[in-house]
């Protein structure tokens, strides 16, 4: 019996050896994790959200633990797109993995300029971050309306030479609509969900724990919401969907695939277990073997609803 399982996926031209991508903001540029795991085993990495100029991020505390999850308000601390190209791409290119540049900005012009700068860089895809809840200007402001998503997607797409993934926020009334707006405006894929806006309060100080007052909720606590949204979006759009939200095991990842995701991102779990992505890959493989499925893409969207 052939035990080999084909884990490879092709997401709108982004070819990955397996469907597990380290989620933006949880994996830096991979350097820290290289001490704990073989980065060659990863399908890909979506790097820490990049801005045109370096950003210092928000005041600490930037994190609060909540039941089965965390709230964060890092605020896009990053060295800027130029430093990424110069310092981080050469490091990541030592490894066999897909490199996704996650970009964020204050204005549409910022996004376009970054897409243009990245046009000649050795990356495999761009993820448009229009869903960060932790910055005052830009970010999520573009991602909460169909008009906002349409305009930014169209304009960035004009500069984008690589597959363009639009990362969607769950902080909307109907994510199917924003996903459709992204598809209609030229997105090659969508990824979801970014974090859910939340708040945690220190009752003794009668103040929010986060210095920024509110932050984005991630981790296992958000998984059912994420699975539902991935299901809804994958039924709505024809472009590939990358699912994320609280994945810590291979079983979790399979849920997303059955719901319609072509690939998954693993985020918060990396903080707890630096080799979480590898555990997810191994768990997926075990599931596919158990059901004698030769190719991971065969189960994408194979969810059967109860009648």
């Amino acid at each position: 019996m052939n035990n080999n399982v084909d884990l490879s996926v092709n997401i709108a031209g982004l070819k990955l050896k397996n469907p597990v991508i380290a989620a933006s903001g949880t994996f830096g540029f991979g350097r820290e994790y290289a001490e704990y795991m073989d980065l060659n085993k990863l399908g890909g990495i979506s790097v820490k959200g990049l801005t045109l100029k370096p950003r210092q991020g928000n005041k600490p505390p930037r994190i609060a633990e909540t039941p089965a999850g965390i709230l964060n308000s890092v605020g896009l601390q990053n060295p800027g797109v130029e430093a990424f190209i110069k310092e981080e791409i050469p490091f990541l290119r030592q490894y066999n993995l897909g490199i996704i540049a996650n970009i964020a900005g204050n204005t549409i012009e910022d996004y376009c300029e970054m897409a243009e700068i990245l046009g000649d860089a050795d990356i495999d895809a761009i993820e448009l971050n229009v869903s960060c809840p932790n910055v005052k200007a830009g970010g999520i402001a573009f991602g909460t309306s169909c008009a906002g998503i349409s305009e930014i997607t169209k304009r960035v797409k004009a500069y984008c030479k690589k597959p363009l993934i639009v990362k969607l926020t769950p902080n909307v009334t109907d994510i199917k609509e924003t996903a459709k707006a992204a598809e209609d405006s030229g997105a090659d894929a969508v990824s979801l969900i970014n974090t859910i806006l939340g708040m945690a309060i220190d009752i003794h100080r009668r103040k929010p724990i986060l210095a920024n007052n509110m932050g984005g909720l991630s981790g296992p606590a958000v998984k059912p919401v994420a699975v539902r949204m991935v299901y809804e979006v994958s039924k709505t759009v024809k472009i590939p969907v990358i699912g994320m939200g609280g994945i810590t095991t291979g079983e979790d990842a399979i849920e997303f695939l059955l719901a319609g995701a072509a690939a998954v991102m693993v985020g918060t779990a990396n903080f707890v277990n630096p080799a979480a992505c590898l555990d997810v890959i191994h768990g997926m493989e075990a599931y596919l073997r158990q059901y004698h499925i030769g190719c991971v893409s065969e189960i994408v969207g194979k969810l059967e609803l109860n009648q």
């Binding site: 949880t26 994790y33 001490e35 704990y36 601390q77 707890v272």
Partner: protein
């Protein structure tokens, strides 16, 4: 280099109400950890208490390949840890962080610690080969005084204060530290504890031209320098930047840090 380890609990002792010392068998940590470094400890079996808890290494025993951490019950994670059974395993990542500088150039040293900030200072005193070592430890009250014997042995002179005067000097530990400065002419002071105390020690050290290292605390995520949540302000020329306590610290030179 830090590793993910599953290590056995050799002993677990209650030192004071809500304060526990856990001894773990670990050749890697015992042989490689430096004073000021910490381990990031998984404090649950499932998905609650999701994040690891960073706990500083209090003592290493290179002969028996064990090390100690001391923690205070603050929430569900530390509560879980306090109920572990001797012989069971704990999932840790370590040794992590930037250690104290304890090289021979410092002949007279002082450590100033408050509350649960005292623990990394014990490891430092033991590792230091300085000619004279003073320890200044502040506690809330007599009941919470821990490791007095260990600190006595590791130092030349131990000074204790309590907030309520139930033991030692009544008041701030920095009062005792100031009193000794002229007599002792310390080359360096190391400090760890509540931020107001650290700020005071730094102020005293700078006024008296004593070099000073501080060990900072901040809410952490990954503990390995990737998530960027444990930010602290540090100098960058005339400007400032956010460094990160887990990887750039927890130990910094006092003149690097900007206290808001």
């Amino acid at each position: 280099m830090a590793q993910v380890l599953k290590e056995k609990i050799a002993a677990l002792d209650k030192l004071a109400p809500g304060v526990f010392k856990m001894t773990l068998k670990s050749e890697i940590i015992a042989q490689t950890a430096l004073p000021g470094q910490f381990v990031n400890v998984k404090c649950s079996e499932g998905l609650n208490a999701l994040l690891r808890r960073p706990i500083s290494i209090c003592n290493v025993d290179r002969d028996s390949n064990t090390f100690d951490i001391v923690f205070q019950i603050k929430g569900i994670g530390t509560e879980y840890l306090s109920q572990k059974k001797v012989g069971s395993e704990v999932d840790i990542i370590g040794p992590l962080g930037n250690p104290f500088r304890v090289e021979g150039e410092f002949k007279k040293i002082a450590v100033v610690g408050g509350g649960i900030g005292i623990f990394p200072l014990l490891n430092l005193l033991k590792a230091s080969s300085a000619e004279h070592k003073d320890a200044f430890l502040g506690f809330r009250n007599k009941e919470l005084i821990v490791l007095e014997e260990e600190f006595t042995q590791a130092s030349d002179q131990l000074f204790i204060s309590t907030d309520d005067g139930s033991a030692g000097h009544k008041g701030l530990i920095t009062d005792l530290f100031i009193n000794e400065i002229d007599k002792k002419k310390y080359d360096i002071v190391y400090t760890c504890g509540p931020t107001p105390m650290i700020k005071k020690v730094v102020e005293i050290a700078h006024k008296n031209n004593i070099r000073c290292q501080v060990s900072l605390e901040q809410r952490m995520g990954c503990g390995i320098g990737a998530c960027l949540v444990c930010a602290c302000k540090t100098r960058l020329g005339d400007e400032w930047e956010y460094s990160h306590v887990c990887k750039d610290g927890p130990v910094f030179w006092s003149n690097e840090v900007i206290f808001d």
